[in-house]
């Protein structure tokens, strides 16, 4: 009886053990969610708790990179501006020589006459200014070279910032390095987040744009001549204009009168020859009187004009520099800001989880 009971109990226990063996699952130890990253071909498993810190460090890195880049580029820009305008400033005496020459005088008088008749007479002087000061010194080509150089430097600064970021990330992730997943050479690990694509892909796309110009306003060509005169005459526009007009009118009248007198004095003959002689003599007198007046004008006003023209050039330089500076800042901010945004979206857990949910494979690993 007892043996039978014992056998029944044993059989019951055996049966319970046999069927219950696979009925329950082993409890797993809790594990912090981690993100699988691939960076420079190396695999990392980064705890979720560290992601905000990495994201913050990346943000600070790119912001500082943009600041340092901006400072470097400003210094480069300053040097570039000096080199750009130095030949132009050196050309000012040549311009002034023309300005206070017969050719310059008659150009100015013609301009005054056209202005009086209602045409755009100032363009004659402005054009000549443009020609002598800027075209002679190959200003536009040098400006374009400066622009390209700055754009390239901006790209280099951004590239340097990115390289430094990669170094920083490698150091920060060193503790989380893991061997590559098994059989990774045969299949892509869709659960790994490739930071190489994130960083190099953006830069590859930007590099093409980086070599382009900075897209300054008026990149097709800056109307430098007009800008110089506008700046130079800004302060003395009212008085300077009336004085110029008065000088112009006075010169013409005085030259006409003086030439006529001179012609009468030189040619004593009468008749047709006398007219011809009078004309030649009058023209010569006109020219000599004109020359004398130019000399006087130059003696009286050359320094003042030169000072105004230099002020005008300074204003042009300042305006150009401001444009460059703004463009560079925008370019750097665009490059680094884009990187920051992408890295933030990658490393922010919420964004990553959402991304994982939409991709279906899941980039967050638990365990």
């Amino acid at each position: 009886m007892r043996h039978g009971l014992g056998a029944v109990v044993i059989c019951a226990l055996l049966a319970a053990g046999w069927h219950g063996a696979g009925a329950f699952q082993q409890r797993e130890a809790p594990r912090e969610a981690r993100l699988h990253l691939v960076f420079d071909g190396t695999h990392y498993r980064v705890p979720q708790s560290r992601l905000p810190e990495l994201q913050a460090r990346s943000g600070i890195w790119f912001r500082q990179g943009a600041t340092l880049g901006q400072e470097g580029l400003e210094a480069r820009l300053e040097r570039g501006m000096v080199r750009l305008f130095e030949p132009v400033e050196n050309q000012l005496p040549t311009f002034l020589d023309w300005y206070y020459s017969l050719g310059g005088e008659y150009t100015r008088l013609s301009g005054w006459a056209l202005e009086t008749l209602g045409f755009e007479g100032r363009a004659l002087v402005v054009g000549r200014t443009e020609e002598l000061l800027f075209e002679e010194t190959d200003f536009q080509a040098r400006l374009a070279a400066l622009e390209r150089g700055l754009a390239t430097d901006a790209g280099r600064y951004a590239q340097r910032t990115l390289k430094g970021w990669r170094r920083m990330m490698r150091a920060a992730l060193a503790d989380y390095e893991v061997p590559p997943p098994l059989n990774h050479s045969r299949e892509n690990n869709s659960r790994a987040l490739d930071l190489d694509v994130l960083s190099s892909g953006v830069m590859a796309g930007e590099r093409g744009r980086l070599e382009n110009r900075l897209a300054l306003s008026g990149a097709g060509g800056i109307a430098t001549g007009a800008l110089v005169w506008r700046a130079a005459t800004r302060a003395a526009v009212a008085s300077g204009g009336r004085a110029a007009a008065a000088r112009g009118a006075g010169r013409v009248a005085s030259r006409a009168g003086s030439a006529a007198l001179a012609g009468l004095g030189v040619c004593g003959a009468t008749g047709p020859l006398a007219i011809g002689c009078g004309l030649v003599a009058g023209t010569a007198a006109w020219v000599s009187i004109d020359w004398a007046m130019i000399e006087a004008d130059e003696w009286a006003n050359r320094d003042k004009l030169e000072r105004r023209l230099r002020e005008g050039l300074d204003d042009v330089r300042h305006d150009l520099k401001s444009q460059f500076s703004r463009a560079l800042k925008q370019r750097l901010e665009k490059l680094n800001g884009r990187q920051r945004a992408r890295i933030r979206n990658t490393l922010t857990p919420l964004e990553t989880i959402k991304k994982a949910a939409t991709q279906g494979g899941g980039q967050m690993e638990h365990g």
Partner: protein, 281 residues
């Protein structure tokens, strides 16, 4: 003279109708089944138990194993003394088996207990191995009962418990090791052919996680051992090495499986220690 007044050969004052082991099969089987159930419960919770609980359970298992190991060691020591020393020799008393023997057996028990608990956690809820352990219980008690019946009238009662324990251990152990080796042979293995050793070791140990550091590290070591075996076998096969090299790897598998089986059967012996004698220690 050796046969006279010799405790090992004198007929013990046992009753002729003392029930042999075969009458206690059911009770022994029940005890061992409860022991297996306890191991199974530990397996379910092993990865989430705190270190304190793990240590406590390890100590309990160690003490149970120690009971069987120490008693058997003293029996063997007694047999050795009776074979090599005169009864009146003072060394009989000195080499009876005291603190040194206790410490040695304690260390053995501690190591075997750790191996058993860690292996059980690694096995997980795979039903195959647990069913094999249920079969091992049956084999064990049946082997012991059979041995007891065979040795009842011919073996010295002082030494019979050791004989019975040994027969039970070897009988069930050989079958269990053989079945486990067969199981390892037919089990699907991960593909490590194109992986480096570093990758393999990292990936097999990465899966072993536990709240208790001891359980985590211990299971990682066992996993690394198994991963190394699998990697070496696959690399050897790919490199077309001679059969004896592959056999060497299987020796490692045999050792690993044997450690588990020995520790399990030592625990069984410990649970049943003191049950197979006639009242004299």
């Amino acid at each position: 003279m050796l046969c006279q007044n010799n405790p090992m050969t004198m007929t013990s004052p046992v009753r002729l109708h003392t029930p042999p082991e075969q009458h206690r099969i059911a009770r022994h089987a029940a005890l061992l089944l409860i022991c297996v159930a306890a191991l199974w419960l530990f397996m379910l919770q092993g990865r989430v138990l705190a270190a304190g609980w793990v240590v406590l359970i390890w100590m309990v298992v160690t003490l149970v194993m120690l009971r069987g190991l120490f008693l058997r060691a003293r029996i063997r020591r007694r047999a050795w003394r009776s074979a090599y020393l005169y009864p009146e020799s003072p060394w009989n008393r000195r080499l009876r088996g005291g603190l040194c023997l206790f410490i040695v057996q304690l260390i053995k028990a501690g190591v075997l207990a750790a191996v058993l608990l860690l292996t059980v956690v690694r096995i997980g809820a795979a039903p195959g191995v647990w069913r094999l352990m249920l079969v091992a219980v049956l084999l064990f008690v049946l082997a012991r009962a059979r041995a007891d019946r065979v040795f009842w009238r011919d073996a010295s009662p002082a030494y019979r418990p050791e004989l019975v324990a040994r027969v039970g251990q070897w009988g069930a152990g050989v079958v269990l090791v053989f079945c486990l080796l067969l199981w390892a042979l037919v089990q699907p293995q991960p593909d490590f052919r194109e992986a480096t050793l570093e990758q393999v070791l990292w990936h097999v140990t990465d899966r072993e996680r536990a709240v208790s550091v001891a359980v985590e590290k211990g299971t990682q070591w066992l996993a690394a051992w198994q991963g190394l075996e699998q990697w070496v076998v696959q690399q050897i096969t790919a490199a077309d090495q001679p059969y004896w090299v592959r056999a060497g790897v299987w020796v490692s598998v045999l050792v690993r499986q044997s450690l588990f089986v020995v520790s399990l059967l030592v625990l069984f012996n410990g649970v049943l220690a003191g049950r197979l004698h006639d009242g004299r220690r």
